[in-house]
């Protein structure tokens, strides 16, 4: 395994090893580029994962202090845990369910398609679906996404069967077991999905793609990638010309070191990435690195989300099998006659009894709540996920009053629901409940959002430097050897789960970085 010198200023430093950083690290290493990847967490592989919701949560979650503000319900229900992110090699791709969808064509042009939505900072992406199509194909190959290429779909579980039958009764057309980054057959390295039903806790079979046990070891095997785990980046340093020169980081004992770099790529997910840029403020960049636009940390998106659980007079046992076992895409179209712009996906979801107690209706108690859980065995469930409106005031800022273990200001996450988000959520709740009503549900629960799993937009991509933080390659408008490589570069969020797009952008960015390096441009 490679080991690079702290003074080696020819390496590319990547911060974070999740969907964006882990893939970028491997792709660059495959091309012969020397990479040092910092990961704040430790290394946890399938043999370590536990089929235990709280046990797993304690094992791999990012639990450093965060604060919240704004009118979204999470600020009340989970004020210290606004987002649900993993701190480990592989990042949130250990937790993720695996739903892997391409954006729809119109979603790349949200400003043009939706028009001027009051209070929203909508913008068209500087790239489109045609440009990303070849990279989407590469990403689907890498992640072995079902129902793409020659890969079959997964079989439907109990939760899916209720969902599918209800959808058909309502007249929905596009219903299937999803495009999932889960093996639908045995491969040489990892087996097909065994339907264990703990996808969120890390797949012990390795049947679900994660950069933890796919891209990272593949990159390491080239001899070009060094992953420095339990190493948290604290500050990005630059020289008088404004180029970045290295990264100050803390090792597992809290000792600080400086790793020199030719290029720095930030991929710490959409809360930590802008926080790191803001914490890298200097005399030359008093508002934070790469922030001449003032957009670093702004336009934070978390998707319109919510869930519907419903109880039937007979058992469902929804927890058996894949956590996200199917999708209805009919509502993902843009159709303002529904009272909102953009669309949403409906995806089956199951959580175990321990998480159900925490998330079904946070704060609620008494017989109404307890009898809902009494029927846990007879419950079916789905998650609703749609495009939320970017707003300049939804943002990550530094909370200077509360410092972390390294003495740095902690991030505050501010989020107000936009009226469009609220209208979409209400529509989605109605439709979700109608599906289960059609199947004879005796009770239904429109369940509020969980801590955010899809975090996006806080270093957004823009054509013009004044509108965003990075250009069409994820390269800082201000600092040419600084890149953003995670979901924070999203201009808008689209209705789809974000990770396939993060991975496609990372593969594309690796091509760009390698070619710019060989041309001597960076």
């Amino acid at each position: 395994m490679a080991k690079f010198d702290m003074n080696d200023d020819n390496v590319v430093v990547i911060i974070g090893t999740g969907a964006g950083g882990g893939v970028l690290a491997n792709e660059l290493a495959q091309k012969g580029v020397k990479v040092v990847a910092f990961e704040a967490g430790g290394r946890h592989l399938p043999e370590d994962y536990v089929n235990d919701e709280w046990g797993s949560f304690a094992q791999i979650s990012w639990l450093d202090t965060r604060t919240t503000s704004g009118n979204f319900r999470l600020a009340k229900d989970f004020s210290g845990l606004p987002s649900w992110i993993v701190k480990a090699v592989g990042g949130s791709t250990i937790h993720w369910a695996g739903a892997s969808l391409r954006f729809q064509e119109h979603e790349w042009k949200a400003r043009t398609t939706y028009g001027d939505v009051q209070g929203a900072s909508l913008l068209d992406w500087p790239i489109d679906g045609e440009e990303l199509a070849p990279y989407y194909s590469k990403a689907e190959e890498k992640l072995r996404v079902t129902r793409t290429g020659d890969r079959e779909g997964l079989p439907g579980n109990n939760n899916y069967k209720v969902f599918e039958a209800g959808a058909k009764k309502l007249g929905y057309k596009d219903v299937h077991t999803g495009r999932m980054a889960i093996n639908s057959r045995d491969y040489d390295d990892y087996a097909a999905c065994q339907q264990t039903g703990f996808c969120f806790q890390g797949c012990k079979w390795g049947a679900k793609w994660s950069s933890a046990y796919h891209d990272i070891p593949l990159g390491e095997a080239t001899g070009n990638l060094e992953v420095r785990e339990n190493a948290q980046a604290l500050k990005i340093e630059h020289d008088d010309t404004g180029k970045v020169t290295g990264v100050l980081y803390a090792d597992k004992d809290g000792n600080q070191h400086l790793q020199k770099a030719r290029i720095v790529c930030v991929a710490g997910n959409s809360v930590e990435s802008p926080r790191l840029l803001l914490n890298s403020a200097s005399n030359m960049f008093p508002d934070g690195l790469a922030n001449s636009s003032g957009q670093v940390g702004r336009n934070y998106m978390r998707h319109m989300t919510g869930s519907v659980y419903a109880v039937f007079d007979q058992p469902v046992r929804m927890w058996r099998g894949t956590t996200m076992a199917g999708i209805i895409t009919d509502e993902s179209r843009h159709d303002p006659s529904r009272g909102f712009v953009g669309g949403y996906e409906m995806e089956t979801l199951s959580i175990g009894l321990p998480f159900m107690a925490a998330f079904l209706d946070p704060g609620s108690w008494g017989r109404e709540f307890a009898t809902a859980l009494d029927s846990y065995e007879n419950m079916a469930g789905m998650w609703l996920v749609g495009e939320d409106m970017p707003q300049e005031t939804n943002r990550i800022t530094l909370n200077h009053d509360i410092k972390d273990q390294h003495g740095l200001p902690t991030p505050n996450v501010h989020f107000d629901d936009h009226p469009n988000d609220v209208a979409m959520r209400n529509h989605a709740y109605q439709q979700g409940m109608a599906i289960y009503d059609a199947m004879g549900a005796t009770r239904a629960f429109p369940t509020p959002p969980y801590p955010s799993t899809h975090n996006m937009g806080t270093n957004r991509m823009s054509e013009k430097p004044r509108d965003g933080v990075v250009n069409r390659w994820g390269q800082s408008h201000d600092v040419k050897n600084l890149f953003v490589s995670d979901g924070s570069q999203f201009t808008t969020g689209a209705a789809e789960n974000p990770t396939l797009t993060i991975v496609a952008l990372a593969i594309r960015q690796a091509d760009r970085i390698a070619s710019e390096m060989s041309k001597g441009n960076i």
Binding site: V50, N51, D52, E53, W54, P155, G156, N157, N158, K161, V162, A165, C193, Q194, Q195, T196, G197, F198, K204, W205, F312, Q314, P315, V316, R317, W319, R320, G321, G352, L353, P354, M356, A357, A358, W365, G366, R367, F369, A370, L373, D374, Y376, E377, M439
Partner: protein, 171 residues
């Protein structure tokens, strides 16, 4: 279950006082009337522990889940650190009950009358501490999962691929 131990019915009946659905024994134990389980209280007054157990059940009432699981869920408050706050909280609860003409919280016969009192103090840090603690303390006990049909860990059994992931028969 380590803290909640078994004892004989004879031990129990020798010296105990019925309180709510549990017995408080003079020796620092509270126990089920049928002696199926008992929990030792080292810091709290036994009566306080008995009240906490009733309160826990009133907050998340599952009629098919026995008191011992509620006892286990609140057992952590029997510590030197938590003691003062919990004694004060239960005292306040009993004061509200007394104000409504009851002897104390435990002596109230109907759940709805106890719940009315809990609603009136729902915003208090004490209530929120007990309620919040139950989410993990009660529902994360593996022993209660089967009572809700939840099957827990499945990897060691080979997942559900051959064990009914798609066995629903009414759709």
């Amino acid at each position: 279950m380590e803290e909640v131990r078994k004892l004989s019915r004879r031990d129990l009946l020798r010296q105990s006082v019925a309180l709510g659905t549990v017995f408080v024994m003079g020796t620092g134990f509270i126990a089920a009337p049928n002696a199926a389980w008992a929990v030792e209280v080292k810091h709290l007054k036994p009566q306080t522990m008995a009240t906490l157990i009733q309160m826990a059940r009133d907050i998340y009432p599952h009629d098919h889940v026995g008191d011992e699981y509620y006892a286990k869920a609140v057992k952590g408050y029997d510590s030197a650190d938590a003691m003062a706050g919990v004694e004060a909280g239960v005292e306040a609860l009993d004061a509200v009950a007394a104000g409504r003409g009851y002897g104390n919280y435990l002596s109230i016969g109907w759940e709805r009358d106890r719940v009315d009192i809990l609603r009136s103090m729902e915003q208090s840090p004490f209530f929120q501490q007990i309620r919040g603690g139950l989410i993990v303390g009660l529902y994360n006990q593996e022993a209660v999962w089967p009572m809700f049909g939840y099957e827990g860990e499945s990897f060691s059994k080979g997942g559900y691929i051959n064990r009914g992931f798609n066995d629903i028969n009414w759709v």
